[in-house]
Amino acid sequence: MIPSYYEFQNSVKIISGKKALENIPFELKNLEVKRPMILTNDILVDLGQVKIVENAIKESNIVIGSIFTDIPPDSSVKVVNEVAKVYKETGCDCLIAIGGGSVIDTAKGANIVISKNTDDLMKYMGAEIITGKLKPFIAIPSTAGTGSEATLVAVIANQDKNIKMEFLSYNLLLDVAVLDPRMTVSLPARLTASTGVDSLVHAIEAYTCIQKNPLSDAYAFAAINLIRDNLQKVVDDGKDIDGRLAMANASLMAGAAFSNSMVGVVHAIGHACGGVCRVPHGDAMTILLPHCMEFNMDKMADGYAELLLPLAGDEIFANTPKNDRANKSVEVIRNKIDKLNKTSGLPTRLRDVGVKKENLRSIANTAINDGAILANPKEAGFEDVMMILDKAF
């Protein structure tokens, strides 16, 4: 069914494939810049991923203006301001982010500070208030999960005020995303599994939230197809280059889907688990997904039934009676998570990731103020969230 109204934007140029990184000099020339600042973290420097990018750029007239490696797992306003300062001091003219969600979000935040020439990022907090074109920005994801390379959102922590600042703007969409399997091939199985499930949740929530539209549906559907065929494969064999490339594409497509359709109750509660108990995002997604699908079932059975096709493939879809397909989707997901648990140690209960029973009320109170809850197909109040948390505990 076509929505009576929707908006969609995915203006990111996508370069996907083996040796894709070698195209970066051309893309920088295309963007009329030649002195990038590279943002990354020490782990990726140690693993040699940053060196791969440097080598890919070497044979060109591109001069790396500076490399900033001190980016923590949670993006913060302090780091964003430091990045912006170094960018100006070293005369850079564009940004290249190499990393996962925190590095890419830090780069998005720094791009606001640099492009708006401000020292107060808080002025730009909110939804759709950042106007105008920002500095050229290329991202090279090193995980296949957050999809941040294709989303309009950045989350930056403000430690002084103890808040997570959210920035939503189509102008935060970057110019180029480079998906090269060399960047994810050394990701450990456990992290591969949890980031992969994060992508799956992005796609499932994008397909079932109230902002869904034909374009976000197409991205979500395609992403789930790739995840079905490749996630377990790359957990079992991290060196599977084709599988890695497929998962990088799935992550990006799921990102583009939820960027235009939002995420729902799984993310609202997952963000709160991260904020209150520091539960890693992918772990929270894995634990909460089946419980939240069961909660949404009475409002979203048709959507979940349709998703059985990409989740389980055509044979199982065709052999499952129409009325059983929605529940079958949940069953298929539980089975996939159980297998990932056995092969990579992915957790399946909140108690296994450091959440205490006495934390649940605080998590629920935080979750109901998360913007994602607005886009969920079913109203989720405090008691509803408590019920989901109890089951997931």
Partner: protein
């Protein structure tokens, strides 16, 4: 056909009701009363229609959310601004819920999105008190629990009882 100035007049009237309605539920509905505790004293919230208004301003003052009127303030902590008058009409005349409006990008939010959520829920609860059932059934995902009766809130809204 209603002209733009007619629509603006209508929005001003709805803003007046909503402002006084939110003020009432923030004092007399337990759920909303609890919700607004999240705001620091002096927090200012403004609803606006881009580009030139109308506006509706509220402020947290001693555990209450006070309706300050229709004068634009430049430094509101949270601004929920409809992108155009047609978007505002859809929401304010009960043709579209606030969550659907968010999903359809009908308004922008300036400020902490986390802090905008209690005001969004308060709007839903005000609608549950002040709008007839045939409208609320259409625009709310679920009827929120009312902890006071409709008549009390109507009277408090009309008389401006805080």
């Amino acid at each position: 056909m209603v002209t733009n100035s007619g629509k603006k007049r209508l929005i001003k009237i709805v803003f007046w009701f909503l402002g006084r309605g939110i003020q009432s539920v923030a004092s007399f509905d337990k759920t909303v009363k609890e919700e607004i505790r999240i705001y620091d004293e002096g927090t200012t919230v403004m609803l606006a229609v881009a580009p030139f208004g109308p506006y509706m301003v509220m402020q947290k003052k001693s555990e209450k959310l006070i309706y300050l009127g229709e004068k634009e303030v430049g430094n509101a902590d949270i601004i929920i601004s409809f992108k155009n008058i047609e978007a505002a009409i859809l929401v304010l005349t009960g043709q579209m819920g606030i969550d659907r409006a968010y999903a359809e990008h009908r308004y922008v939010v300036k400020g902490d999105l986390y802090l905008s959520m209690p005001i969004v829920r308060a709007l839903c609860i005000v609608e549950a008190y002040l709008f007839p059932k045939f409208i609320t059934k259409k625009i709310l995902k679920e009827m929120p629990t009312r902890t006071n009766n409709k008549l009390n809130i109507y009277v408090a809204t009309l008389l401006g009882i805080k």
